[in-house]
Amino acid sequence: MITLAEPIKVKDWKSDVKPIWCPGCGDYGVLNSLLKALSDLKLDPDHVAIASGIGCSGRFPAFVNAYGFHGVHGRALPLATGIKTANPELTVFAVGGDGDAFSIGGGHLPHAARRNVDVTYVVMDNEIYGLTKGQPSPTSPIGMERKASPYGTYDAPLNPIAMVLSYGASFVARGFSSQPRELTELIKRGVQHQGFSFIQVMSPCVTFFDTYAYFKEITAPMPESHDPSDRMAAMQLALERTQYLGVFYEDNRPPHHVHMEELQEKAGNHLTLEKLLERFQR
């Protein structure tokens, strides 16, 4: 992680493009927490890259003064994997919504997790498709009646935390857009974690599925007694009805790009003085 001596102020991390999310959208809180985390960590805009897919979350990179790649629906993780692998000096984020992460892009999540790519994946979960005007998502509750599900939904919602724990993600956390201070801390921990960091952020959609009151009711702080190195305990908490906010799990196995360096050495590409100097000059 490349850092600066003095932090860049939050306002300078903002680009000159203003978000056009609906007033009251949870994503404003997520954006502000992320900007604050970038500033607190003294990161350098020349060394931060953000990849996104499609959805209300997709335009996220346009609002941050850092490298951005707004790709196609559900494919932020492959982009982020390519970016981090090609230039491990970059601090890489992937951002998306519940449709992007768990539906169309659901096939990439287990593999980014098991590869342990050093990417912080912030998923803004509003339990609905907002951009396309209110269709049920993989995290929508059973019985949700909307225009696209006029007789109510029957498909059981996914449990993203339990899912990602079972995928072997090395950092698993949940935040809430209405708790920006806690969310900032979670994002900071996710960035500092060397490996794949998954952060599910409950981020309500005021227009199509206003869950502010519901999220407030079912969320609770992570029990202080919880040991984040205990995967079984993390799974237990993930399966409860209460949606705990905080770090469920963290382990410190080496990330993908470190394995790639080992592999190159095994293949006979030994790090010579010239190569070291070349790297330094870059």
Partner: protein, 380 residues
């Protein structure tokens, strides 16, 4: 010196010679040998090869890696190109240099997974939504697998677009004896050496901010700057202004879409590549590409040995269509015979160009190669 080798090996060597540093692929017959050889060879030179979870991820990783500074290649077969489709569009719109190898096999769906075919000729050209041009090169020999892979990397840098290397199962799998001096190196441009010249661009918008998508004139290519070069920039797959911010402003969108086509189509002369073996007085022109061109060349030798006059044209740059070279070859002949392992996909292009000249096809879709004898039957 000579060696006994195959097309897949030559493609990997060409990629390494071109400075490829990143490869991602997903196992598929008959493209898997490229993935396996890359997995073995790229780490030796400090590069990274990844076996992705699927084709969508493979091409997505390549696009991300390119934008963070790598030279990238991926390889698949027809069914994999289907899955690449959306991200090919992203590379077109995002102006991402990328080399895609399509080792063709027979038929739709699983088709003949271990059987030769040339049925992706139109598919790779029109393989993504919106219908914008890409560049497609087709080697017809093992040494050409090497040199055209290098050329694909160069054209990808020059035009900031996906460049396809269209081969087939026989070209990639069949071992051949090759004279080592037949391998020809092709110079590959440095990153950023777009139409505005090499080095770090100073492209700025009216506010003095960096504009990664500024092109001038309309057929110019924005100089490529990637993540990590100390200028904050963005890439996007949406219609965008020069700073990569989404726009629906009709004049900006119109200019962008015309630019994506013009930067390739206005520069056909830089891309056009054929081998013309024209004989004065010949009434028949044989035309082919890829593995089928090998049988054509053998037939030409036999025919001429028997006193017949015949001309032959091997197309190496299938898209954009090398119209100038085709028109030159058509001059003075009465008929052109287009041979390909499909039901006449490239023949459509020739019919479009061959005013008044009879256009015939030799076509096979039974999994066998077109033989030299099939060519000899049509020469008169």
């Amino acid at each position: 010196m000579r060696e006994f080798t195959d097309g897949s090996t030559a493609i990997v060597r060409g990629a390494l010679a071109a400075g490829c540093t990143f490869f991602a692929g997903y196992p598929i017959t008959p493209a898997s040998p490229i993935l396996m050889t890359m997995m073995r060879e790229l780490p030796k030179v400090g590069g990274v090869a990844i076996q992705a979870e699927d084709e969508i991820s493979a091409v997505g990783m390549c696009i991300g890696a390119t934008m963070a500074g790598a030279r990238t290649m991926t390889a698949t077969s027809g069914p994999g190109i289907s899955l690449y489709s959306e991200n090919i569009g992203l590379a077109v719109m995002g102006e991402v240099p990328l080399v895609v190898v399509d080792v063709q096999r027979l038929g739709p769906a699983t088709g003949g997974a271990t059987t030769v075919g040339q049925g992706d000729v139109q598919f790779v050209r029109w393989g993504t939504a919106g219908g914008y041009p890409v560049i497609v090169l087709a080697p017809s020999s093992i040494p050409e697998c090497y040199s055209l892979t290098m050329r694909a990397f160069d054209l990808a840098e020059r035009f900031r677009c996906p460049v396809f290397l269209l081969t087939d199962k026989e070209l990639n799998y069949t071992m051949n004896t090759v004279e080592l001096d037949e391998y020809q190196d092709v110079p590959v441009r440095e990153r950023g050496a777009g139409s505005e010249g090499p080095g770090m661009p100073k492209t700025q918008d009216s506010m003095g901010l960096f504009a990664p998508y500024r092109y001038h004139p309309p057929d110019g290519v924005p100089p490529m700057v990637h993540f990590g070069q100390d200028v904050v920039l963005r890439f996007t797959g949406s219609t965008h202004d020069e700073r990569a911010f989404i726009t629906k402003h009709p004049p900006t969108v119109d200019a962008l879409n015309r630019h994506l086509a013009a930067k390739i189509e206005e520069h056909r002369d830089e891309i056009e590549l054929v081998t013309a073996d024209l004989e004065p007085g010949a009434r028949t022109l044989l035309l082919s590409y890829g593995v089928t061109a090998r049988a054509m060349r053998e037939a030409v030798q036999k025919a001429r040995g028997g006193g017949q006059k015949v001309s032959a044209l091997t197309i190496h740059s299938l898209w954009p269509t090398p119209e100038t070279a085709i028109e030159t070859a058509l001059d003075g002949v009465e008929r052109v015979v287009v041979a390909e392992l499909n039901l006449g996909q490239y023949r459509r292009e020739i019919e479009r160009i061959a005013h008044g000249c009879e256009v015939l096809g030799i076509n096979r879709v039974d999994g066998e190669l077109i033989s030299p004898d099939q060519f000899l039957e049509v020469i008169r």
